[in-house]
């Protein structure tokens, strides 16, 4: 069905079900309970899961398949956001033209950057994309925000003002992005006993788009084009001596992943009509690299997992403070309790980036395949343990 084999179809269905029922799944604890802080079913957090998921899926099409490590993808995200806000300013708050233009602009921009950067490979490619991203950041932050030609509104960030044209903005419409009248911030809250679940229009728009682009990425992975991209990663010499030109292939992959980033940027603006230059900084590009690696480079589900994992723990870790820690470890004797809290303290709250950095290093060192590989290893281990248990009855374990 859908041109997918059984495994891929199952994967797609699982992802679809999980995203559509996320408001339930992410709010497993009653709203008033102490555990409610681990709930992640707020609209804006769920939107972030999805948007960064899209960003990472796209990044993975480039890095996972071709092995070209770009440190400049945040630039496309930023371009997408700016394009979307401009659509809001000029036309109306409808998200369709905004997201459309975001994808187109990011695509055009990535053709330009990709055409130049892909003339080099390896670390030179990484450094070139890094240089481009920093340049784009500088352009957005200061160069393109002068009074004569204000494209980005510099430090303040681009936003919609009352005196903007908004030629199609209807009378009586609210000043917020909408999808043909459905406002992105409209939320329906459902209370079931002690639980409360939020269904947000913006989230569902993002979710449906993500399922669609996830499906597209499966198709790309399984296509002849996807195989060519993996061939480029595997052996470029053989590639060109087989009569295939690697450059248009990598450029196409670069542009596709740039458009994914643009889509993510457009959605970001659709959820909150504001675009700032800091979205383009290379540390933001680093973040999507982290997500992809952490989840599992070159796997279908990895980037989505990585994005969800990082955004979820970012949210949780930032909320934990010393008081909460003391509550948790209250069962320990006083001295030990203080010591444990003291040890954990640097990693929580504002220390989330430290935790992230350490986690990332551990993954690169010990688990290059990311969470997906980790899952596979655990699966194998359980299987082999099951088997060796059977064997011990008769023979020595294989180890």
């Amino acid at each position: 069905m859908l041109g997918l084999n059984k495994n891929d179809l199952t994967l797609l269905l699982v992802v679809a079900v999980l995203t559509l029922f996320a408001p339930f799944i992410l709010n497993p604890f009653p709203a008033d309970s102490a555990m409610a802080q681990f709930n992640a079913g707020y609209p804006d957090l769920m939107q972030r899961f999805i948007i960064f998921g899209i960003f990472a899926i796209g990044f993975n099409i480039l890095f996972g398949l071709t092995g070209y490590l770009s440190f400049g993808h945040a630039a496309f995200l930023g371009v997408g956001s700016y394009a979307a806000v401009w659509m809001f300013k000029l036309l109306s708050y409808n998200v369709v033209p905004a997201i459309g233009l975001a994808i187109i602009m990011a695509g055009l921009f990535s053709v330009l950057i990709g055409y130049v950067s892909l003339r080099r490979s390896g670390i030179y490619f990484s450094i070139l994309t890094l240089a481009f991203a920093q340049m784009s950041f500088a352009l957005a932050y200061s160069v393109l925000s002068n009074p004569k030609f204000n494209l980005t509104n510099g430090e303040t960030g681009l936003q919609v003002y009352k005196n903007d044209p908004q030629i199609f903005h209807g009378e009586g419409m609210q000043d917020f992005p909408h999808f043909f009248g459905i406002y992105m911030n409209s939320t329906h809250t459902m209370n079931v006993g002690a639980w409360s679940f939020d269904f947000n229009a913006g989230y569902y728009l993002c979710a449906i788009i993500m399922i669609a682009v996830f499906y597209l990425s499966i198709r790309i992975f399984r296509s002849p084009f996807g195989m060519m991209l993996r061939a480029i990663k595997s052996n470029q010499t053989r590639m060109s001596y087989t009569g295939l030109n690697p450059r248009p292939h990598t450029l196409a992959a670069f542009v596709i992943s740039g458009m994914y980033a643009g889509l993510a940027g457009g959605l970001m603006a659709a959820m909150d009509p504001l675009a700032g230059a800091e979205r383009m900084q290379w540390t933001a590009s680093g973040e999507v690299v982290l997500m992809t690696i952490l989840g599992g480079t070159g796997t279908l589900i990895g980037p989505v997992l990585g994005a969800g994992f990082i955004k979820y723990f970012e949210n949780i870790f930032s909320k934990i403070n010393d008081n909460i820690l003391h509550q948790w470890f209250a069962f320990l004797p006083d001295g030990i309790e203080d010591f444990v809290v003291f040890i954990i303290h640097p990693f929580i709250g504002k220390g989330w980036h430290l935790t992230l950095g350490i986690m990332f290093m551990l993954v690169v060192i010990f688990l290059p395949g990311g969470l997906v590989e980790g899952g596979q290893r655990i699966g194998k281990w359980i299987k082999s343990r099951g088997k060796s248990d059977d064997k011990t009855a008769t023979t020595e374990p294989a180890e």
Partner: protein
Amino acid sequence: MGILEVKDVGKRFGGLQALGDVNLSVKENSVHAIIGPNGAGKSTLLNCLVGKLIPDTGSVMFDGQSVLGRSPHEINQMGISRVFQTPEIFGDLSVMENMMIPCFASRDGAFRMHAVKNMMTEKDIVEKAEAMLVDMNMADKRHMHADSMSRGDKRRLEIGMCLAQEPRLLLLDEPTAGMARADTNNTIDLLKQISDERDITIAIIEHDMHVVFSLAQRITVLAQGTPLVEDDPENIKGHPKVREAYLGEAA
């Protein structure tokens, strides 16, 4: 007129004259060997033929068209396939995928984007690749990771990938280097079979005289960047100049 005509090709690397006035003519549907001691310029010559290097002087014509200034993939699309000294295959891909890629390349050219088609639904490609695997005696290995195969199998796969493109000229760069005797003999048999059964010209660079004399119909001896002599194998064996330059030191 041969299918491959090399005229007065010269190449310098700094102060080193790697090739000087090389002339070579490879007849269609023959097996032509290029031999010579280390540093004779064999690999440099080969690299000039496939577009990796551009000679300083002279011309290289393939089937009446110049190959100079074209990039490797363009030259390949003209009908020249190359087998490397150490097998160059797509190590991270399966054997079947390895075989499908050249099939796509010869059907669709240097770049065509099939981004949403499922590759296994491309019936013609799948059939062709499977047939080629059967020809190469590798059908049972189709799901294997290409990197996990033995060196002999990798060589076999690489040759198969080149043949899948139905090239008119197959260039082999020391195809048996570093192989065990049994693998070497298998490779010789395979190449013999290929040249007998197919409309194909083979040019081979080789060190191993056993390989050269079992395969070649014509031999060019290269020494210090210039062709010493070009003749039939029988005459090469007894040629005094060749003995001096090459076989002499080997014997």
